[in-house]
């Protein structure tokens, strides 16, 4: 391998490392959003890493063995974009691209998407393994709000 090729590869490598180290938005969930689960769920806190893994299909079972069923507002709604960019650190396009790969290769199902907070509340209230990200103003007493830790 020639010196020029080695230099080019080293440059590309450095570019990759630089690019990947560019930090994104802060950890956690924006204050205007809440993470809610069914009242049957015994959990009271969840780490932001686990929340990420749930919405990226990497964590699919609660400790109790119940299947996790995630739900969220529409990706392009203000609440949806806030959740994707602030918590999952993905743009709408990145999120869709990620899930298309996973879904169509048989890896799992995309988080359910609802148009309104009341639909999200209905869903979580009737789904024992349900978890949803919802606007704080839309939370009612049929569900339990989780504390998210870093």
């Amino acid at each position: 391998m020639g010196l020029k090729k080695l230099r080019l590869m080293a440059f590309l490598g450095l570019l990759l490392i630089w690019g990947s180290s560019v930090s994104s938005l802060a950890q956690g969930v924006d204050r205007s959003l809440r993470v809610v689960v069914s009242k049957e769920n015994k959990l009271t806190t969840l780490t932001s890493d686990d929340l990420n893994r749930i919405f990226l299909g990497k964590k699919t079972l609660w400790d109790s063995g119940t299947r996790i069923v995630p739900a969220m507002p529409e990706e392009e709604s203000p609440a949806g974009e806030l959740f994707l960019s602030g918590t999952l650190k993905k743009s709408v396009a990145q999120f869709r691209s990620y899930w298309k790969r996973l879904l169509f290769s048989g890896g799992g199902t995309v988080p359910k998407v609802f148009r309104s907070s009341s639909q999200l509340m209905d869903f979580v209230a009737r789904t024992p393994g349900g978890i949803a990200v919802v606007e704080a103003s839309g939370v009612d007493d049929r569900v339990k709000v989780l504390e998210i830790s870093n």
Partner: protein, 352 residues
Amino acid sequence: MKRLAVFTALALAFLPSAGAQEMADRIVINGYTNFEFSKQLSKDGDGDKKGSFDADQFDLVFNITVSERVRAALDLSWEHGTATEDGRGNQAVEYGFVEYAVSDKLKLRFGKMFTPFGVFNEIHTAKPAFLTVKEAASLNKNDRIVEGGFLFYPRWGAGIAAHGDGVVGGKDVSYDVLVANGEQEEANPFEEDENTSKSLTARVRVNATENLRLGYSFYRDRLSSPSFTTLQSHGFEVELDLARIRVLAEVAFGSLGLAAGGSQRQLGWYIQPSIHLKKGWTPYLRLDKINPNRDLSETGGRDFILGVNVEISKNFQLKVENNAFKGGTRSSLAQYKGRGYHELKAALVLGF
């Protein structure tokens, strides 16, 4: 899509409402379709000289949650306007398997699956899942570039697999292992093995940082062919995914054991940078190279792709690209002027 919606609505209408809701929660139906056009732009070459429309693909993807730990997944595919009466097109089970989740770190799968090697194989039919019109030929269908090579792995396998996601040293890690019959000379590989040796595929992926994913894949099988003895491949993948810029690259090394002695050593690689602009426009490049025999010179070739992917509306994409194929002086493209040709490819793709 409309018929499917009507069918589902009717099915649900005849169930008690609670039962209908439970069924809707347990059975999720998705799918995708792909309509293509290709036209060779050069006078001579291996492309589509007349220009053709292709009703390439219509797939339905089912995910059925049977219980808390058991899930079934199925992809039914109709290709090229399937008409069995005329012997046209193809219909197939792309994958059909049952998954038992012991935990998130260990999910066991049984059935027919895509071979979990590299980035493209498991999504090679799912055109909405990638930017370009076709998957990277260097690793998945290298005869589209030049002849004389072999597949690094069979695209499907019937057998037992394990998949898991976890955290190691603070990094997200996932793995896949598939033990399958492997490719067969005569028998249906999804029904019968022609020898006692099972094929082994393994893949591990690590999220090195939030934006950088690395992966390694391995495939090995002993073959029952009178001409070939073994197939072994190693693959490495890198994906850098920034907010707008994305770079995807893979390299694979393959070795096909020859019954006459020795082996054919093959190398394939590609690099695909893209930039996501506003209003869903994503221009991309891909340099796809295959060297079907590393012990011979000038037998390889490349496909240099320059294109754009436009998301017209949610999950509905238009893709247009030029493919510049070129081969070495001893490749199957050597007969053409400049040892290559250009081909226009376009597609309308919908995921749902």
